[in-house]
Amino acid sequence: MKMSRRTMLHGTAGLATAAALSAPARAAEPIRLGLLTVKTGPLASGGLDMERALTMFLKERDNTLSGRKVELIVADTAGAPATARTKTQELVEKNDVHCLMGPLAAFEALAIDDYIREKQIPVLGVAAAEDVTQRKPNPWLVRGTSSSAQCAHPMGEYCAKDLKYKTMITIGDDIAYGHEMTAGFQRVFEENGGKIVQKLFAPLTAPDYGTYISQLKEADAIFIGFAGSNGFRFLRQFNEYGLQAKLIPVGGMTALDEAVLRNMGDEALGIVTTCWYSAELDNPANQKFAPAFRAENKYDPGFYAAATYVEGAVLEAALKSIDGKIEDKPAFMAALRATKTDTVRGPVRFDEFGNVIGNVYIRKVTRKEGRLVNSVIKTYPDVSQFWTYDQKAFLANPVYSRDWPPAKNLSN
């Protein structure tokens, strides 16, 4: 752990010293940014991408935002809620960070939620849990990625209207993320005339999906709401059973991430997924970012790399609007939420809960220059977490779950 003597003194001397320091002296101090990510364990693939992209973002700006040096302190939560909590405390109390980025997983975000409220630390979130920007909004959070269902809503409409599927099956991880994403998909798909005839959830650590695959009923298509490597393993086994000819797979935002695509073969070709990003996006920021990331790491940036890169851009824009004065937390927080900027995912702004409003892309796996990529085939502009619903009505409903909205069209 790198720690300068000044940080040490600052930390031990406490608030009195901090308050006594004059304004110019404080402005010279670096901005301390804490990144909560996962560098060990099963989630490390995405976690390492988060760190790589953010490091790249800062390096491109000579580690300087709004004229102040930025000191990045990376903490490894190992994907465990308890460790996430300890590391957050360490970043806040020992490293005295000005703001946090991350964590990766929803259960980590929930584990640190009350601590963030208590300590009032501005957080640029990555994890997708719905309610932290809905029914239990955290005033210290902005989320530049999306809520669990934010990309699934447009996918529901796309499947019903553009792909004209009548009946579908959903399958996802048996965790809040899987429940929320498939629920959002189901709601929009069914409201557009489709029918969900079967809903399956598999334990996050299910070693084998054979049992689930053998149960699949007849339908036009199946929506895959898995995270991490699970979507990849499910698809392989799905093909193993020779089902791709009978049932068309489509995916949520983490089903066929760029990180997974590079280990897949022709079986992935043609699969349609939804996400707020694709390495193939044709905007000026991404035209710089994606090739640079590829040059450095030999693979395309995906969901997690883009996540911290987007959050970096949000941080930069917010700091600029307040002249780098990150110490004034309420002003900084207000600036974050008022941010409107162009990022690698396209233009972003935030709603009153701090959740992003931005484009959602429907992508299709194609082969380009020998590698598999997610080509964008349709853009839903400025999608909010509430989709086209009235915000009040949306919030009056219970949060998306296994059982809400109820599935009325299940076949027996």
Binding site: S45, S229, R233, E240, V260
Partner: protein, 288 residues
């Protein structure tokens, strides 16, 4: 009808996979009284080595990769036993903790070397297509896994019951002090059995690869399954591991299909029952 046939085949395939995983664990546990918690990690290490070989040397078949990986993991296991575990001989708790620590080291080592993304192992081409059985589809490779498991069980059975080496191993399992007294080199046999158990884990990891892929967390997903099988089947018994694997395969498959809400506990219920009624497992023969 189709449901029952399809899920029965699924349960057999999963059972076969479990046997490849747990037979080595049972062997080591039986002889050395050591719950080798690196076993899941060795399984994962095997899968990664296999995946690496098949990538680095195109044309390597899955079988070659399994063989090479089995040997590599066996050597690793042998070194581990000789130079690390041996130092804690007699300290069972210390050994268990040590194996757990080494399991963490292996799993983060794999992450460092092979990265965090899942790496698939390709199925041999002639087994890559689904077969049609009585009018429905089942992946050919999964049937092959059942055959492989049966072959492995037969091989182990012959080794343990029909050879001199097997007799020595069994003697060591039954009464270590007496085996030593009649001149059986128990300590060399320890190393050998550890190598053999590791080899089965390593090769098993590769053979399970086309179904499971090599991914970080594979170790943690598999270790509890090995424990459950061995507790159910009885420690140190290949028959026990074999029967246990297929029972667990069936309970898991039918449990999930019929009672999806119990997916998390379904595997542990039979274990509790067996521990309550037959603490040594169905085929356990430890006379402790």
């Amino acid at each position: 009808m189709q449901f029952w046939v399809a899920q029965t085949l699924n349960s057999l395939a999963f059972g076969g996979l479990l046997f490849l995983l747990s037979s080595g664990f049972s062997l080591i546990f039986g002889l050395m009284r050591l719950a080798n918690l690196t076993h899941g990690a060795l399984f994962m290490l095997g899968a990664y080595i296999g995946a690496y070989l098949m990538r680095a040397f195109p044309g390597t078949s899955l079988w070659m990769a399994a063989l090479a990986s089995g040997i590599a993991v066996a050597v690793f296991g042998g070194l581990l036993e000789r130079f690390v575990l041996r130092r804690l001989a007699g300290n069972a708790l210390g050994q268990v903790l040590l194996t757990l620590g080494i399991a963490f080291i292996i799993s983060d080592g794999c992450l460092l070397v092979f990265g965090g993304d899942p790496i698939p192992l390709s199925t041999p081409r002639w087994l890559a297509r689904p077969v049609f059985l009585w009018g429905f589809i089942f992946p050919a490779y999964r049937l092959a896994v059942v055959v492989l498991a049966v072959c492995a069980a037969l091989g182990l059975h012959i080794l343990l019951d029909r050879t001199r080496l097997g007799a020595m191993i069994r003697a060591g399992v039954d009464d270590m002090a007496m085996a030593r007294a009649v001149g059986i080199p128990v300590s060399a046999i320890f190393t050998l059995v550890f190598c053999l158990g590791s080899a089965i884990a390593g090769a098993g990891g590769v053979l399970a690869g086309p179904i499971l892929s090599a991914y970080p967390g594979l170790d943690g997903d598999m270790l509890p399954l090995a424990l459950i099988v061995v507790i159910l089947g009885g420690v140190g018994s290949i028959t026990g591991a074999f029967v246990g694997s297929f029972i667990i395969g069936a309970i898991y498959t039918f449990g999930i299909a019929l009672l999806p809400d119990l997916a998390y506990v379904i595997l542990f219920l039979p274990m509790i029952l067996v521990i309550a009624i037959r603490p040594n497992g169905l085929f356990g023969r430890m006379a402790v």
